[in-house]
């Protein structure tokens, strides 16, 4: 019987082989090929030239045009992440305080849009956000503005639509942190003299931080690499890293440069996410250890 609990050597590898092969085949290999591609050189006359050169990296890292794109993408992702925290945390709390049938029902309502393609949802937003769209008509109808607000082909519209697309990920993450919370701690805080707001900020929220952090990482990473929403709502005017990569690949046909941008985006994402993670985990060590 002792054998049953100690697996044969190699069994874990054999069992995870299908998943590993899939992971290697569809993720690591293309990624490696992209990395190799980024060191090739593109020649307008002769196409892609094999070889090893850092010209593409030098071009992206020194050209102000690309700096703008990267900074724009970073700010957009930060903005979307901040909005998701701002809306997602209260939304989750409201959800958690609902009575039995309603909380489950509304969770489905919130997560439901994940079942619809991002492209379809984004096209929906572009209908709503157009100059003659529902939102602009309503705003002018009640007299808040006289001119239509430019949502389409602007950063504002992209951030609004991306926040909507990514909010469910934040809610799932905070929801799972909330499930682990001892529901009595808020009462404990209040019995010790803290108002409900103080009790939330000092007692409940710090314990939700792991959930907020993991939600933020997902939202940040997804919005930094988002393609459909910026390209449909932002168009050419609001160029972000993902759409710039697309343009290099399919419009300029400069694959090596596109690959370089993609690799740099990946690196930037990793640096920012790991850095923030470390920082927050160190600051709130006790919450994460529990």
């Amino acid at each position: 019987m002792a054998d049953a609990s100690t697996p044969r050597p190699g069994a874990p590898w054999a069992l995870s082989a299908p998943a590993l092969l899939l992971f290697v085949g569809v993720l690591l290999v293309p990624l490696a090929l992209t990395a190799v591609l980024s060191f090739n050189v593109f020649d307008g006359m002769r196409g892609i030239q094999p070889g090893f050169s850092l010209t593409n990296y030098a071009q992206v890292l020194t050209d102000g045009y690309y700096h703008d794109i990267f900074i724009r993408t970073g700010l957009m992702s930060l903005g979307v992440t901040a909005l998701c925290v701002l809306f997602g945390v209260p939304e989750t709390l409201i959800l958690a305080h609902m009575r039995a049938p309603w909380s489950g029902l509304f969770l489905v309502v919130i997560l439901g849009p994940l079942l619809i393609s991002v492209v379809v949802r984004t096209l929906g937003w572009s209908v709503l956000l157009g100059n003659q769209g529902l939102i602009n008509n309503a705003l002018q109808g009640i007299g808040i503005t006289h001119e239509p607000i430019r949502f389409l082909f602007s950063m504002l519209g992209v951030v609004i639509a991306l926040t909507h697309v990514l909010l469910p990920f934040m809610i799932i993450a905070v929801w799972s942190a909330l499930q682990k919370l001892d529901p009595q701690v808020e009462h404990a805080g209040r019995s010790l003299g803290a108002s409900s707001i103080t009790s939330f900020l000092r007692v409940v929220f710090p314990q939700l931080l792991p959930g907020v952090l993991s939600g933020s990482i997902i939202v940040f990473a997804l919005s930094a690499s988002a393609f459909a929403t910026p390209s449909i709502i932002g168009g050419r005017r609001v160029k972000v890293v993902a759409t710039a990569t697309y343009d290099e690949f399919l419009n300029s046909m400069n694959w090596p440069l596109g690959a370089t941008i993609a690799i740099l985006l990946l690196l930037a994402n990793i640096v920012i996410i790991v850095g923030c993670n470390r920082l927050i985990e160190r600051r709130f060590k006790q919450v994460f250890a529990a």
Binding site: A188, G189, S191, L192, G193, V203, A289
Partner: protein, 356 residues
């Protein structure tokens, strides 16, 4: 009016029956009172209304003569100890204990002294810099008590505080908590379903059933002179024998139960008709065959260490009996014996089905 007073307190949840029904309770200053009852009897809801986390549907809570029914929980100045302790995992023990003082804007140096003092009270000196997850269950519980006491509340509310501790530790905490409560003279309400806990710690016990107080009295009174079959069977074990009152005299009633005519003392309350005769297992005694009040046969005999637990078949049905383990030779299973009791050990309680 007494120090803490609950008047006609009622709580109805939408769609549900009344959880608490017109409950009245007076707690004197410095008194330790337990709300004892099975789950669903309304004891926790009552505590929540005292603490301010549940609004009474009707009725009032008075503290020091002042109606506090509408006051928010953070303004009530009550210390709470929760079943799961509800410690703040992201704060050290000292920060946990000091949280209430911080909310009261107490200067840091003064607060540090209070925190030390509170930790010393629960014998946790020097553990202030630990985090809750680094402590054992018993220590966490002490932190929860220290945190509630540090604010020097007017009332201490304990919501099943010992139920997560193992039996031995629980017993020790009962004694310690009681000593601490006496020493501080703090008015305390304990909610529990554990009768031993209620009896060891309380000045008075309020036995609750279906949203009302079924009986209120000292632990001795409630155990020894139960007012109802519910109180009797909820506190400790008891034998119930169906009987019928045949005659009521000045100080006692004659009750016919099976072949026995029992003379049962009563305290002036009227009883008649069908009654349940209650007798505690420790008040039934073993006697030699032919002696005692009733013959019987030992069905089972269990050794509990300090006690022997007997189940005896008799004309009055199966009766439970305990006998202290004093090293004597006691009857074995299958032996015929006699059962003996004294009249004053019997209680006749009317009005309830006698099959409890």
């Amino acid at each position: 009016m007494s120090f803490l007073s609950l008047r006609a307190l009622t709580k109805t949840y939408p769609g549900n029956a009344q959880v608490v029904r017109g409950l009245n309770l007076d707690v004197e200053q410095g008194e330790f009172i337990s709300l004892l009852g099975p789950s669903g009897c309304g004891k926790t809801t009552t505590l929540q209304m005292v603490a301010g986390f549940a609004n009474p549907t009707s009725g009032h809570v008075y503290l020091n003569g002042k109606d506090i029914s509408g006051i928010r929980p953070e303004k009530r100045d009550m210390g709470l100890v929760f079943q799961g302790y509800a410690l703040f995992p992201h704060m050290t023990v000292a920060q946990n204990v000091g949280f209430g003082l911080e909310m009261r804007k107490m200067p840091r140096t003064q607060a540090a002294g209070r925190i030390e003092e509170a930790l010393a009270m629960v014998r946790l000196h020097g553990l202030g810099s630990r985090y809750p997850r680094e402590l054992s269950g018993g220590q966490r519980q002490r932190v929860a008590i220290a945190r509630a006491l540090a604010i020097r509340p007017q009332v201490l509310l304990l919501d099943e505080p010992m139920s997560n501790l193992d039996a031995k530790l629980r017993g020790e905490m009962h004694v310690e908590m009681r000593a601490l409560q006496r020493q501080l003279g703090i008015t305390t309400i304990l909610v529990t379903h554990d009768q031993v806990e209620a009896m060891t710690m309380s000045d008075r016990i309020a036995v609750m059933s279906e949203g009302k107080i079924a009986q209120l009295g000292t632990p001795f009174d409630v155990y020894d002179r139960p007012a109802s079959g519910f109180a009797s069977s909820f506190l400790g074990q008891t034998n119930v024998i169906p009987g019928r009152v045949t005659e009521v005299r000045e100080h006692c009633a004659m009750v016919q139960a099976g072949p026995c005519l029992m003379r049962i003392p009563h305290a002036g309350n009227k009883i008649s008709g069908d009654v349940g005769v209650y007798i505690r297992p420790e008040r039934l005694r073993l006697a030699a065959v032919g002696a005692g009040n009733l013959p019987g046969t030992v069905k089972t005999r269990l050794f509990l260490g300090n006690l022997w637990l007997y189940e005896v078949e008799s004309a009055l049905g199966k009766l439970r009996l305990t006998s202290a383990n004093l090293g004597e030779q006691l009857p074995k299973e299958g032996e015929n014996i006699g059962l003996a009791w004294r009249d004053e050990d019997l209680r006749a309680i009317p009005g309830e089905p006698a099959n409890g």
